[in-house]
């Protein structure tokens, strides 16, 4: 079962949440943010070139312009490869674990996998972020030997930063899977 809905992030940008249910207890949530817009790219490039041209008229050295070309190209490549995250996915599989994937604009993908033994709970938490109070979804981890202590807090969807309505959808779905997993784990 697959469906797609659109939400907004904390700054007002558009987000698309795509839910896929592969099996009753194996679900995937993908959040795609807006791609790099032509307006912002043009604006930044114009600003950089104006500054470079001003510097060139001051010091009459053509190396400034060549250096600017390099800096612009490298900066854009670096931004696309290391900074701009296009899509974040959360895959939750009952009795196996949770996997989070971030795919960058250049095509690079980085994944993190957490085993089900280490997952204590998934919660929505509040945080003070600059002058705002925002909600974020996070996974609480525990050490297998100490089940009542929280060893780590892993936030998800960190670069997409969706609002509460989107988080509630994901939270409800994940809690169903976790409840089923706890039920089968205790029955064994």
């Amino acid at each position: 079962m697959e469906d797609e809905k659109s939400f907004s992030d904390i700054c007002g940008g558009r987000l698309a949440l795509r839910r896929r249910y592969y099996s009753p207890y194996c679900r995937e949530f993908g959040l795609s943010s807006a791609r790099l817009s032509l307006c912002s790219l043009t604006a930044v490039t114009c600003a950089v070139w104006l500054a470079a041209y001003g510097l060139f008229t001051l010091c009459e050295n053509s190396m400034v312009l060549s250096a600017t070309i390099f800096i612009t190209i490298l900066g854009l490549l670096g931004y696309l490869h290391f900074v701009k995250i296009d899509q974040e996915t959360l895959l939750i599989i009952d009795s196996l674990g949770i996997q989070m994937t971030s795919s960058y604009a250049s095509g690079k993908e980085s994944t993190t996998f957490i085993e089900m033994d280490k997952v204590k709970d998934i919660i929505i938490n509040e945080a003070i972020y600059m002058q705002k109070v925002i909600y974020y979804l996070c996974i609480l981890l525990k050490e297998p030997g100490k089940p009542h202590e929280i060893s780590q807090v892993v936030p998800v969807f960190q670069s997409a930063k969706p609002r509460l309505d989107c988080l509630i959808e994901v939270y409800r779905s994940c809690q169903e899977v976790l409840a089923h997993q706890k039920a089968t784990a205790t029955s064994l």
């Binding site: 196996l96 050490e143 297998p144």
Partner: protein, 516 residues
């Protein structure tokens, strides 16, 4: 719990046969290690599994059947596979099936041994997880620390979670030693069945490393025995040895080399990485040193350096003389005590004059000394840098002497001043009770004490200024030496092997599994 089956990707295209692997009951998962093909004799399969179990301590068993068939299901094959379930009994019995050319898979798990299977495991789902055997084997997981409460007979330390799966595959390496070109009664399919993967260079290096290590270890032990003998502990030699950074660096490198070439094998991956890091840093060091050597000995650079050295030393001495003349006048507008100024200034100027004559005396030999010292660069760049730092220390010895004189004078003055200040106020330092007590002085004691105090106070700016100037000079020299030592430490301790491994083969640097 959902039944999980870990299936190797290399067996997805293998012919039909039996599934061989390990069943982990705690997590309800089956790790498939290989596929045994027809024809086979059940007794030989059981023997092979017993051998593997003895060699690797992994309880391998036949877990089910694998069927890779054409579009139309064959009746005979189906019945044959059912019959196999009775020969090799295992709970649960897996039946994986794949149709050739399509992506349709079917997985079924039955419990033939249980009396009432439907009661305990109703409608169980099977989750198929593909894993890459080569990558799993090549990733090094650090072994978990041994728990103190572990039983002695518990050889299969259960670590829990996916670490267990990694462990199973890694320990069953002996199962992957046969390939299809061996004439064996049982045909297996796994990631090395096309041919065991090995590199000629690595194998040769492994064979050669034994005798080479032995030879080098004996040589190095001879050298370290010679350097540790009693002769070096005598006073002048031990003092010089502690001051020269070259000796320290050589000693350090000797320790590294004897660690690398020690004849005992590395206990765990951490020690192996430490050895490899040291070896790579030694090799890099020697390579850079040889580069430096070739650069120095080309174009008569040594001659140029030697020719430039004496004028530079002269120039430094001249600058120092100018500095002292400035101090003897009215430096920065401060008014100095004329007599003390002249005495100190002349004393230091005489020192500089001695130093310059000494340098001029040495000047014919400098080129030879530099040439021979430059040869030491073949021992490594770090040794060359340490020698350079020692040469700087020797050449600026007069600055060190000036600093010591200035500091001693200033120290004496400060002690005198503090003691006489106490006298001025009518107090005394009680050595027995380590505190300041009041004391009644005689009139002549007070008179002389006050006089001396006044003299010292008015002489304070002069001494303080000399002290300040020479301390700053000494700090400058120490900064330069410190930078060189920093570079040497960087080369010594940078873990280049681990960095390279992170860039090229990141799966070898896996994290520790969690402690139970």
């Amino acid at each position: 719990m959902v039944l999980k089956v870990f299936f190797p990707t290399c067996c997805a295209s293998a012919d039909s046969g039996l599934l061989v692997g390990r069943w982990v009951p705690g997590q309800s998962s089956a790790v498939i290690l290989a596929v045994v093909h027809f024809p086979f004799i059940p007794i030989q399969v059981k023997e092979l599994l017993a051998q593997v179990q003895k060699a690797s301590q992994v309880p391998v068993a036949v877990l089910g059947t694998w069927c890779h068939r054409q579009q139309e299901p064959q009746e005979s094959l189906g019945n044959f596979l059912e019959g196999l379930g009775t020969i090799f009994s295992h709970d649960p019995w897996l039946q994986l099936c794949r149709e050739r050319g399509t992506r349709l898979w079917s997985c079924k798990a039955t419990y033939p041994q249980m009396s009432n299977p439907l009661d305990m495991h109703p409608e169980e789902q099977v989750m198929l997880i593909f894993y890459d055997q080569r990558k799993l084997l090549l990733s090094w997981l650090h072994p978990p620390p041994v728990l103190p409460a572990c039983q002695m007979g518990d050889t299969t330390a259960s670590t829990g979670g996916l670490a267990d799966i990694f462990d199973t595959v890694a320990r069953s390496e002996v199962l992957f030693q046969n390939d299809q070109f061996d004439e064996r009664p049982v045909r297996l399919s796994h990631w090395q069945s096309e041919g065991v993967e090995a590199s000629i260079l690595v194998e040769l290096a492994k064979r050669a490393s034994g005798p080479v290590c032995l030879l080098l270890a004996s040589l190095l032990s001879l050298i370290s025995a010679a350097s540790a003998c009693r002769l070096w502990k005598l006073w002048p030699l031990s003092f010089i040895r502690s001051k020269l950074s070259t000796c320290e660096q050589l000693h350090y490198r000797l320790k590294h080399l004897s660690f690398i070439f020690s004849t005992e094998k590395a206990q765990n991956p951490m020690q192996l990485m430490r050895k490899a890091n040291m070896l790579v840093s030694v090799l890099l060091d020697v390579a850079l040193g040889l580069l430096l050597l070739s650069w120095l000995h080309s174009n008569n650079r040594i001659g140029q350096l030697a020719n430039a050295l004496v004028p530079v030393a002269d120039r430094v001495a001249e600058e120092l003389q100018h500095l002292l003349q400035w101090l003897m006048g009215a430096p920065a507008g401060l008014k100095m005590n004329r007599a003390l100024d002249q005495v100190l200034g002349r004393f230091f100027l005489y020192h500089i004059h001695l130093w310059i004559s000494y340098i001029h005396l040495m000047s014919p030999f400098i080129e030879h000394i530099l040439w021979h010292v430059g040869l030491s660069a073949c021992l490594g760049l770090t040794v060359a840098l340490s020698i350079f730092s020692d040469i700087i220390a020797l050449l600026t010895f007069h600055i060190y002497c000036f600093y010591v004189y200035g500091a001693r004078l200033y120290c004496l003055k400060i002690y005198g001043l503090s003691s006489l200040w106490r006298l001025f106020r009518g107090k005394k330092w009680n050595v027995l009770r380590q505190r300041v007590d009041s004391c009644s002085y005689d009139l002549d004691q007070l008179f002389i004490g006050t006089l001396l105090f006044t003299i010292l106070v008015f002489l304070l700016p002069t001494t303080a200024l000399y002290y300040l100037v020479f301390t700053l000079l000494r700090l400058l020299v120490i900064t330069v030496q410190g930078l060189i030592h920093l570079l040497v430490d960087l080369i010594n301790s940078l873990p280049l092997y681990s960095l390279g491994l992170r860039l090229c083969r990141p799966y070898r640097l896996a994290d520790k599994p969690p402690v139970l």
